[in-house]
Every structure is written in C-alpha cells, then in structure tokens.
C-alpha cells in the first residue's frame, strides 16, 4: 500500500513537472508553426536573443534597453512587416536561441548565429548578413613547442591538443568536424574560454576571425603571448534563424538583407565600440 502510494506520488510529481517544463525542453508542446501572414495578423515579430551581450552585435544599455546592429536589423524587419517587435532575450546559449525558434517560442533568432548542419535540421536560415572566417587564438609558446621548428600552421592544421570553444555554440560542431584529433573543452562563455587559454587549461581557442582579433585589439599585450590564425577555407555564415515552416518570412528577410548589404563588415565590427566597456 505504502509502495503504491509512493509510486502514485512520484507519478503525480513527474506529471506536474513535465507539464511545467519550458517549451525549449519539450518540442511536442510547440506552438503551431507560423509564417508571414500569421505574424502580420498577430501584429508582433518575436525575436529570440542570447541573454548575454554580444559586443558589436547587440548589447544592453545601463537601463536594460537593447541596442546594436542586430537589434536595428530586427526592428527594420518588423517595420517592413508593419508589426511590433518583441525581444525574447533569455536564451542561455546560442543553441538555445535556435531552440526557441525551433519550438515556436520565437519567430526568428538573431545572435551572431552560424549555420550548421545540426541547426539546419531544425530551423531555416536567412542568407548570411555577414560571413566571417573561422579562426584560432593560440598560445605561441605551446604551439611552437609542438611544432619543433616547423611553421605553426603545420601544427594548427592538424591540431591535436586541448581546444577551447564556447559551450552551446556552433563551434562545438565545427571543432569536432575540423579538428577531430583535438580534445574539445567547452567553456561557459567567451571570457571563461579566454581565462582557460591564459591559464594553460587549453592551448588554443576556436571561434570566428572577428572575436579572435577583437581580443587582441582590446588587449594588445596579449599579442606577445597569443597568436591568431585564420582558417581560410572555413566560413561562419552569420544568419537569421527562422522557423522551419516560415518560407515566406525567409524570403522577406533575405530581401531585407539583400537591400541592406554592407551593414555588417569585419572592419565596421572591429571598429565598433559597442559593448567594449561591458566586456
């Protein structure tokens, strides 16, 4: 009797728990997929964002207000649609932004999102609004030691050491694909990843050219200890994540990106002071 009561209690708790799990964790609970017409009817474009700032892309002001080129792009798309924009800025990782779009909690997601095979299985992506080359930030001494007189590129090309990436980012996928011999170490965020590199927990970090160069630009002294390497045949296509069934919305956003081409360039991003003090 006691056992049956306990089982019943466990089942009840489990049922209540499952009922309250956020939409991200239960795709079966997703809202019905929408497209351009339903968004216009609802008079709101829901835009998912990371809850952390992405300097030069989107940041929060002292009053909590969001601004930056990605925010402006979302507002321009909303303006072109004739609807308001609601920012859902609670995603804990880049992948979570994609999750929000995939399960219908948001119509689009913008947070410096790279297209990956895994993500493309779940959402659509717009044309890239900026393309950045993949890059590594590496400990010069550690790589020179392994290189044993050869150029560093030889070691980096077949890198087999500890490679730091941000957990829940596209670079987890990229790292396992492009550096199969490396031990991938996922960090909570970019600052932690850099700390890992400086403390010797990893010998290289993997991200895009903008972020790598930004680290060295903001703290020039690191140029002595750390080197930067660009992977010339690997590009991060930064695009807007769009719900999987929103083909018309995808076409609309592609058109917008086409007519505003040049809003994002590597030089503009590197020269931007947006969020510099926040990081």
């Amino acid at each position: 009797m006691i056992v049956r009561t306990l089982c019943g209690a466990v089942a009840l708790v489990s049922w209540i728990g499952l009922w309250n799990v956020p939409a991200v964790a239960q795709p079966s609970e997703a809202a019905a997929p929408r497209d351009l017409k339903s968004i216009v009817d609802a008079q709101v474009l829901r835009v998912a964002l990371t809850r952390f700032d992405l300097p030069s892309f989107h940041v929060r002001g002292p009053d909590g207000r969001l601004f930056g080129p990605e925010i402006e792009m979302a507002q321009q798309i909303g303006g072109a649609l004739g609807v308001g924009v609601e920012f859902i800025d609670s995603a804990e990782s880049f992948d979570t932004v994609v999750d929000y779009v995939a399960v219908g909690r948001a119509d689009i997601g913008v947070s410096k999102l790279s297209q990956t095979y895994n993500r493309l299985k779940r959402v659509r992506f717009s044309e890239p609004y900026v393309t950045l080359r993949h890059a590594l930030l590496f400990n010069r001494l550690a790589i020179a030691r392994v290189a044993a007189g050869r150029p560093p590129a030889v070691v980096l090309q077949k890198y087999a050491g500890r490679l730091g990436v941000i957990g829940g980012s596209a670079y987890v996928d990229f790292a396992s694909r492009n550096f199969p011999d490396a031990t991938v170490v996922e960090a909570r965020n970019w600052d932690t990843a850099i700390e890992n590199l400086l403390s010797g927990n990893v010998d290289a970090l993997y991200r895009d050219e903008f972020e790598i160069r930004r680290v060295l630009k903001n703290k020039p002294a690191l140029n002595v200890q750390l080197g930067s390497a660009v992977i010339v045949d690997q590009n991060a296509l930064l695009s807007v994540a769009i719900c999987d069934t929103c083909s018309k919305l995808q076409q609309f956003i592609n058109y917008h990106i086409g007519v505003t081409r040049g809003a994002f360039t590597l030089k503009k991003l590197l020269d931007s002071d947006l969020g510099k003090s926040a990081r």
Binding site: A135, G149, A153, A221, N223, Q225
Partner: protein, 440 residues
C-alpha cells in the same frame, strides 16, 4: 715632369682625404646625423636618395678590388712561404675571437634580462606594435589540404651559397661571397701556373688594385656627407612607438656593442704596441663607414688601407683575412641573435639556464654563418635556427626585429668591421717596415 705633377696631385688628394676623414670630423658628422635624426625633420627623407647614391658610388670598385686583392694576397703568402703560419695564426685568433664574442654576447645581455622585466605598459606597446606589424593575423592555413598554401622551404643556403658555379652571374648579381671564393681559388691557380710558365697577370692585378684604391679615395672625400645622408634618415625612421619597444632590446644591444667596440681597438693597440687613442681614431673611419652604409663589404678597401697604412699592420694577414673575414664572419650578428632570443624569451616568460645559454651561444654562431650573402631583413631568416630550439616564435620576433632593425643593422655592421679589423692585428702584429704599396 708630368709624372711628378701627377704624383703631387695624388698626394694632395690623399692629404685632402685624410684631412676630411679626421676622427674629429667623422665624430662631428655622426653627432650631427644623430641630432638631425632625433629631430625627425621632414626634409630628412630627401637625404635618403643622397645616401643611396653615395653607397652606389662606393660599391663601384668593391668587386674589382676584391678580385684583384685576394689573388695578390694569396700570391704574396705562397711566395713568401709564410702562408701556413699566417693562416694558422689567423685561424687561431678567429676561433678565440668567436668564442670570446659569443661569451660576452651571452653574459652581459643575460645579466640585463635577469634583472630587467617588461612592465604592463611596455608589453601593451610591444603587443600593439606586433598586432599592427603582423596586420593582425599571424597565420593563415586551410583545413582542406587541397586549399593549403604550399609551405615554402628554406632559401638555398649552406655550402651551396659559397660555390661560384657561374662567376659572371655572381659578379652581375653582386654576389660578393661567391666572388670571394672564386678569387681565392683563382689566386691559388694563378700562383701555381705562374711557377710553371713564368707568366702571370699579377702586375695587371696590382694596377687594378691601385686604380680601385684611387677611386675609393675620391669617394672618401664624401664620407662626412655620406654619414649624415645615411644615418639621419635611418635614425628618423625609429618613431616614438618603436623607441618604447626598443628600450628593452636596445639597452643590452648598445651596452654589449659598446663593450665589444671598445675592446677591439684596445686589443689592437695592445698587439701593435700603439696608443689606444690613435688606434681608436684610425678604426673610427671604417667602423663609421660601416655604420652609415650598413654594408660591411663596402668598408673592405678603407679597412685595409687603415690597417696597413695608418696602423702599420703586416700586409699578408690583412690582405688574406679582411676581405674574407668581413664577408663571412659576422660578429655583430652573433650578438644580435643572442639578444633577440633572450629578448623574446623574456617577453614570453621563458627562463634560460646555464646550459641554455651555452647552446644559445653555439646556435647564434652557427646561425650567423647562415646569413652569409644575405643583408638587411633577409639576414633575419636564420634567427629561426636560434629561436625555435628554445620554443620561441620566429613569427613574433620578425615584426619586432624589423622595427628595431634600423638601429640594430648599424650596430651589427660596426661590430663586424671593428672586430674583423682586430684579428689581423692580433695574428700579424706590426709590420717591420712601412708599407709602400699604396704609393705604387
């Protein structure tokens, strides 16, 4: 009568050249050049073509002079039968000097770097220079091997850089090292065939040598102008940013360089039994010509003239050693490679123990020979041979060394000339009779 007039004109030209190239005037020209360079006046860039023109003039007679001088020196040594003794003595002093220079080069800078550490500001400035120089990306590579850029091998070097496979190509491309090797081999051959047939062109070579010396005397009248035109723009190229980065590198370079530059005339004076002041004053001419032209070979005729005529060093060791020694044994480069490695090690937090320092000295001597035939920035490439065994990045060092090079190249050349001038003095000593060669 006409001959007497010509000799008188020649002597008056020599007297004028000596008067213009007095140590006081040379030092005044250097001080003026440094002062103008430090002021970084815009018009200094207009002096650069004047300096380049001056170097071009000096280079006119370098290769013919070497082609004439080396066979004559070989003949002189072989004819007198003293060649083995002279060569043995030269070899002994070369080895001793290389060991001594390597030891000093390692000791003084390592003491400096063990006490001086770069502060945050300096690291920021050096980092900023690095970021800018490397255009913000150090390495580019492709994951897919089909897209990978071909990794270039090291430039042709080693023993092959010495063999004059085509002497005419070497002459036309100003490849002085191969010309030297050719002249030495050809000189031996000429002596042996002269013994067999009794015929030779040595008198003609002596005439060519005299012509070269005369031409060089003409251009020597322009030495003070050349010093100002070459040194001032070079100093002006060192901007304030470079100075910030330089301090940490320049102090040990200048301090150790000064020790070696003072030691060379002192040892010379000791070997020749002359006063250190007079030796210092005499050596100042070729050394400062080296500083201004940053080209050791250009200094060969003046170095020979100074050693043989002013300091009365025996002809044989001078003629045999100076052209080959100045072209091949680069004492300044040994010091430079040692300091560059210790500098990079300090920046990257690498410690050097006694064994490391010994290896550093050996690698630096070896790498200095790999610079034979190279000049300017190209001569930095063998630095990789020294840096990489210590796990230091050549790719980081190069942009910094390029910034520092305007100063470092001057110091390197001065040391090459000064220390190489010391060796024949130690090996041969003072000549018993005053030389008359220059008057022939």
């Amino acid at each position: 009568m006409k001959a007497a007039t010509a000799v008188g004109r020649d002597n008056s030209l020599k007297a004028l050249s000596r008067s213009i190239n007095r140590p006081a005037i040379t030092i005044a020209a250097i001080v003026l050049a440094l002062a103008l360079g430090a002021m970084r006046l815009p018009f200094l860039e207009y002096l650069r073509p004047v300096g380049d023109f001056y170097i071009a003039l000096l280079q006119i007679c370098v290769l013919p002079f070497l082609l004439a001088t080396i066979p004559l020196a070989v003949r002189s040594a072989m004819a007198s039968g003293s060649a083995p003794g002279v060569l043995k003595s030269l070899l002994f002093w070369v080895l001793m000097t290389v060991v001594a220079v390597a030891a000093v080069s390692v000791t003084i800078p390592s003491l400096f770097f063990s006490y001086a550490l770069p502060d945050e500001q300096m690291m920021n400035n050096i980092g900023a220079l690095l970021g800018r120089s490397a255009d913000s990306v150090d390495v580019e590579f492709a994951i897919d091997a089909r897209h990978a850029a071909e990794i270039k091998g090291a430039a042709e070097g080693g023993i092959f850089a010495l063999i004059p496979t085509n002497i005419f190509a070497s002459l036309s491309s100003n490849d002085s090292v191969r010309v030297l090797v050719f002249a030495a081999i050809f000189g031996v051959g000429m002596v042996l065939t002269e013994r067999e047939s009794g015929q030779s062109i040595f008198e003609a070579l002596r005439h060519i040598q005299a012509v070269c010396v005369l031409i060089f005397d003409w251009f020597s009248l322009l030495v003070p102008i050349g010093i100002v035109a070459l040194v001032a723009p070079q100093v002006a190229r060192l901007g304030p940013d470079a100075f910030t980065a330089l301090t940490f590198f320049a102090y040990p370079l200048l301090a150790t360089g000064a020790v070696l530059l003072l030691a060379a005339p002192l040892f010379c004076a000791f070997a020749l039994g002359a006063s250190p002041g007079s030796v210092f004053g005499a050596l100042l001419k070729p050394v400062m010509l080296g500083a201004s032209t940053r080209n050791s070979l250009v200094c060969v005729p003046l170095a020979l003239e100074t050693l043989k005529n002013d300091l009365k060093v025996k002809d044989e060791p001078c003629d045999l050693y100076i052209p080959i020694g100045i072209a091949t044994i680069r004492f300044g480069t040994i010091l430079y490679f040692v300091i560059a490695t210790l500098f990079m090690g300090t920046l990257m937090g690498r410690q050097f123990n006694v064994i490391d320092l010994g290896l550093l000295a050996v690698f630096s001597v070896g790498a200095s020979f790999a610079t034979i035939g190279l000049s300017g920035i190209a001569a930095l490439a063998p630095l990789a041979i020294v840096l990489r065994p210590f796990g230091l990045s050549y790719e980081v060092a190069v942009p910094l060394m390029i910034i520092i090079d305007p100063l470092a190249e001057m110091v390197r050349t001065m040391l090459n000339v000064a220390i190489n001038c010391m060796i024949p003095s130690l090996a041969g000593g003072r000549a018993a009779m005053p030389t008359t060669q220059s008057a022939q």
